[in-house]
């Protein structure tokens, strides 16, 4: 095929989707920066002058606002989720990698938790964690766990814990599937020769499984970070950022500023800080993937 035909055909095929994304995602990202440097609220959003305020929005958010709190909350939440999801996901992956009847089918069924709308999952967990009639408190009291019943969603630390558990439930299949793929790339005979050399299960896990899973684990952690950091529905429904901002996250704070208080500039500035964090992590990820592709995996 002639090169000019290649070019023309390529552009014609790609352009509609590209233009769509530039219009509905690219432009808004650019506009986020503009909004964050101006004072735009519900009064002057469509008409009237929008005064330029420079970095004032950011100063306000980190000063009187609670952007710092939201950032720390989101980071704590994200790291806790990633660790739990990874540990349980790896356990699931290794269990269902064993050759037994129904292993693959059962592994598939676990995926359901990842596919459910987050709103539904949030509602389910809100019900299970509710102080009265919640199944979790029922069980805790039944087994006489000290301190029960816990007022899960209205006490700061338990509320964060409940959110982490709910999100872990969603994230386990994702971790499991990616780690399963990683496990299949480890040749079986490595384990056999290690057994012959007298390596126990413990040693085989730490000396063979984990090191050989390293590429899968790295990209999993980065993707997990990006997908967990953006949490919105779970928090909005289970705690609404409360009690007193103890579980306020970047996304819920941005939403509150823009659509409860109608201060669009403050909302946009919050989103920008979020963008910055994701950008740094995403950049690391792309470097990582690129390196892997270059080294030929």
């Amino acid at each position: 095929m002639a090169r000019s035909t290649q070019r023309l055909a390529g552009y014609l095929f790609v352009l509609p989707a590209l233009i769509y994304m530039l219009f509905f995602v690219g432009y808004p990202i650019f506009d986020n920066f503009r909004l964050s440097l101006y004072d735009v609220n519900v009064m002057n959003v469509s008409q009237g002058t929008q005064p330029f305020v420079g970095m004032d929005n950011y100063k306000e958010l980190f000063g009187e606002g609670i952007l710092g709190t939201a950032l720390i909350n989101t980071l704590i939440y994200t790291v806790a989720c990633i660790v739990l999801q990874f540990v349980i996901g790896l356990a699931f992956a290794m269990f269902f990698a064993k050759p037994f009847r129904m292993a693959q089918r059962l592994r598939g069924i676990v995926m359901i938790s990842w596919l459910l709308p987050a709103t539904i999952t949030a509602m389910m967990f809100k019900f299970m964690f509710s102080t009265n009639g919640g199944i979790i408190n029922e069980l805790l009291t039944k087994f006489h766990i000290p301190g029960s019943p816990v007022e899960w969603l209205v006490t700061p630390v338990p509320a964060m814990f409940a959110l982490v558990l709910a999100n872990t439930w969603i994230g386990i299949p994702f971790n499991m599937i990616l780690l399963t793929t990683g496990l299949t790339t480890i040749p079986k005979d490595i384990y056999e020769s290690a057994s012959i050399d007298g390596a126990g299960a413990f040693q085989r896990f730490f000396r063979i499984t984990l090191p050989l899973l390293k590429p899968a684990i790295l990209s999993l952690l980065v993707l997990g970070f990006i997908y967990t950091f953006k949490v919105f529905e779970l928090v909005l429904i289970m705690t609404h950022g409360g009690p007193v901002n103890a579980t306020q996250m970047m996304s819920t704070y941005a939403y509150k500023l823009s659509f409860d208080e109608f201060n669009f500039s403050l909302g946009a500035a919050t989103s920008n800080v979020m963008f910055l964090v994701l950008f740094v992590v995403g950049f690391l990820y792309l470097r990582l993937v690129h390196k892997e592709e270059v080294s030929g995996s």
Binding site: M21, D31, M111, G133, S258, G282
Partner: protein, 279 residues
Amino acid sequence: MKMRVRSSWLLPFAGVIVVALFLFPVYWLVVTSFKTEGEIFRSPPTWFPETLYFKAYSEQLSSSSYDIFEGFRNSAIIAFGALAISTLLAIPASYGLARFKFPGRHAILLLFLVTQMLPASLILTPLFIQLKNLGLIGPSYWGTILANATAGIPFSVVTLRTYFASLPKELEESAKIDGCGIPTTFLRIMIPIAIPGVVVAMVFSFLFAWGDLVYGMTFIGKEDMRPLTAGIYNFLGFQSTSWNNTMAFGTVSIIPVILIFVFIQRYIVSGLTNGAVKG
């Protein structure tokens, strides 16, 4: 070899227990929707409803402020709309990226990879203003449909590009010899062959939009046009104790997800690994 004999039932048995415990929340959701208010708050809890009680469902149809079937219809309109847009745009784009050499194609692919990871709350404020200026905020599904397609498009482009790239080049070469132009080859030969990949892309585009809460509740000004998820959010905010009603909402919302899962489970696993790993 004693171990082998024992493990032939032990492992599957353990597996079933693990999965049952893991999915207990879903069971609890469905079961609660069939309980009476009194039974829900009974201690100790009943593991199965004493009598199947459908009032939580029927109440939504008659008395309540939010009609459950209306919500279902709204969610369906939004999800199918977003699915249509993202499929129509993503199939040609992914084929173009997989098969034609043109300057900037690596950068464009990278752009899709990056946008796939961007969360909705990042662009929500400027997108709201943009759609408002276009007149799409208020009593209209359009703003929500257009916004949800921005999640489906990059995912579909990335997964389908991998799929098209894996198909043998000879297909196009022999089509060319037979006198087919690029459009005919694409429409008559490549798309039909790529159906399994297209199905994965369509399913995920649908699921992204079906699960959407934030666009629907922000962009749609009219209560009775909002999706099921927004109905649930309202319910939890203002009538926080009627759990059987909310659970009925939840049960209705997960029906399409469970159906999709049952029919195309194996595509979903492959879609997740292709789309997410190289992602």
